[in-house]
Symmetry: C2
Subunit: 458 residues, 2 copies
Amino acid sequence: MSLDAVLARIDDTLPQATERLFDLLRIPSISTDPAHAGDCARAADWLAADLRSLGFDASPRPTPGHPMVVGHAGTGPGPHLLFYGHYDVQPVDPLDLWHRAPFDPELQPGPRGPVIRARGSSDDKGQLMTFIEAMRAWKHVHGSLPARLTVFLEGEEESGSPSLVPFLRDNRTELTADLAMICDTGLFQDTAPAIVTMLRGLLGEEITLKAATKDLHSGMFGGAAANPLTVLSRILGRLHDATGRISIPGFYDDVDELPDAVRAQWQALAFDHAGFLGGVGLTTPFGEQDRTPLEMLWSRPTAEVNGIWGGYTGAGFKTVLPAEAHAKVSFRLVSRQDPVKLREAFRAWVRAQLPPDMTADFTPHGASPAGQMDITHPAFETARAALAAEWGRPAAYVGCGGSIPIAGYFKSELGMDAMLLGFGRDDDQIHSPNEKYDLECFHKGIRSWARILHALTT
Amino acid sequence: MSLDAVLARIDDTLPQATERLFDLLRIPSISTDPAHAGDCARAADWLAADLRSLGFDASPRPTPGHPMVVGHAGTGPGPHLLFYGHYDVQPVDPLDLWHRAPFDPELQPGPRGPVIRARGSSDDKGQLMTFIEAMRAWKHVHGSLPARLTVFLEGEEESGSPSLVPFLRDNRTELTADLAMICDTGLFQDTAPAIVTMLRGLLGEEITLKAATKDLHSGMFGGAAANPLTVLSRILGRLHDATGRISIPGFYDDVDELPDAVRAQWQALAFDHAGFLGGVGLTTPFGEQDRTPLEMLWSRPTAEVNGIWGGYTGAGFKTVLPAEAHAKVSFRLVSRQDPVKLREAFRAWVRAQLPPDMTADFTPHGASPAGQMDITHPAFETARAALAAEWGRPAAYVGCGGSIPIAGYFKSELGMDAMLLGFGRDDDQIHSPNEKYDLECFHKGIRSWARILHALTT
């Protein structure tokens, strides 16, 4: 099978591929917001239809939440490969910081060439379309796909994946391939292709503290009545000790120190710590004072307040003692940390700090353990070589500070190994206003998948 | 002059007086919200017109904020009395906790008789109308008012009174009477008439913490990048030490211990501490552990978080490290505490706790010292006797946990003593959803003013 003709086809049809991505980006598939449930369904329909146009037996599959898209196509002597991506996107607030409507994609000039500007352009619609466009070019050139291929696209990745594990269990046979390819990560320091071998887990909790039966006037009650905002601040303010370590008892019990070999490999990557923080206006690492930022991001757990609200937050002032205070808190987990155990430890730690008359209610938001990929699988070195051929530099084995629980679930639920690689850049502003995806990343990402498909199946 | 005929007229026309109050309550004059500036102006116009109908030379007076209403009427050998109230009201959020639209007043049955339900019914439209209705009845019976009377109504009391001091200075001669009567307080324990002799001051601050130049993804940056929400929680969580005292250096320097005589007088009031907290679902006093709730409310300073917000607060979850975190914090002040000095102390204390790369911006919201009334003024004992005659029990000299800075400004700017008395009840839910004013309080409040007018001027 000729690879060069496929790569040429990809180069020739980049404008059309970009237009198709724009169509997908126009659908505001924000999974965490119930108001956008219909948009999530529309995105799933769009993708299933696009896969069918490539000869896939593809359809949206209902779940209690947003639909999954599953499609199968191809035959061949090579391995059965499953490709995973997610079509849902993060919310867009604060909307006033966007320079253009988040769901009105546009090619804009950028310092490194054109960028595709829209929510989801990098996370993850642009990335999932790299694989689909690679298959489209392959099909056009060769008339058929090079191996048995399954595409599996999720619509709840940005909202804790509540339907994922039940769906994997209910469709185990159909979804178990020889290897999963997950496209939801980035390049290393913007230029080197990278395969992620360590992922942090995630635990999310929403807290509501309640005291009096109603909002109180701070003149009538202030000083004598417990204020949930004061108590919430006190508790969250104790999440870290003076050295930056998390204060919850037992939190570090299952955190392993980095093996010396991995530490040496990471040091060899010569990560630009100053540039990493400087890119967002910071100079000084926060967190554990005896760790480098790269070590903190890839191998250390975190506790972060992601949202807090309560009392009067409008214009002017109101001297209220509110009846309730709220926060969203998340933990990034590493090594063998058990999210179920730590959720209970966190709740017990909060409850132990409540004064009389105050109660705490908790709402869970996602719980996934950290992931460790098996890089002894031969496909890893094959893919590394294919990536090096496209990008002109060696592919790095890296860690990832984010949480992509699907890799762990593929292993735990289906016994399937996974390889995580993607083409995002650090300045893509995923989860932030003005998200973008470099056209170069989209283009070379499509070419990368064509090379990997070729290397793994011929 | 006959008092009995005035009281009879008040009794006979209570329904009409209630209807007039309803007209005023229908105007949503929320002074802190710029969207309601027009409503504040409408309330001022309504009051000026009503005063003119009583023969007052009255008009709304423009300020840089909401208008003041000033009116003059009457002559007589008695003292020149100034009456103060405020026509602005608190915001109404959370709106979903109201059982009826907040600006659609209604008489509803209550456990102690009918209640007037609406935002502002008790604080302070219902209260200010007690005085106006007393004058209306007096005028009807006698054809003229019993003394030289000035009415001075403010529209910024709930939003820090930014225009008040400049207005007093610019209109010093016109507004200086022999004694000011301020109707913005309540009964003692719901049954005994009360004259407030100590008021707490108020200092309001809004804080904004900023770190990175944009919202960050907690997977990409969590652990290594400073999170303004975490730092804000930490700082606010340290506002009080383990004994409930405020941690800002020097905060208690100008706080006097209560004189033994006052402490004894307050103890004699036999305040129902359990009932006070129990009424709002609480059992245990918060705050300074070596003080009684009454002492805390009337004579001790406080630090309270009145609002906090930042990050993702919508449905679901978003693992964001926000670029900004916000809080509104207020302090109730006592004795000789200087709000200007303490504002600087608070800001310095916050800034000293900021980690590298984080900045704090502050917006001031009101600053007034505590007030101490001069009860040696002979009008105090006269009013006490008049109140006792109406309510059938002695009037108490009490403290007030709230801040009514006007009393201090009358003294400091105009050299005018003030007497604070009013007819609110503890369960009026001022500043909270479902605010009410008992019809009995409105009725007996009008009668009380008629008695006081009579006692002071004849």
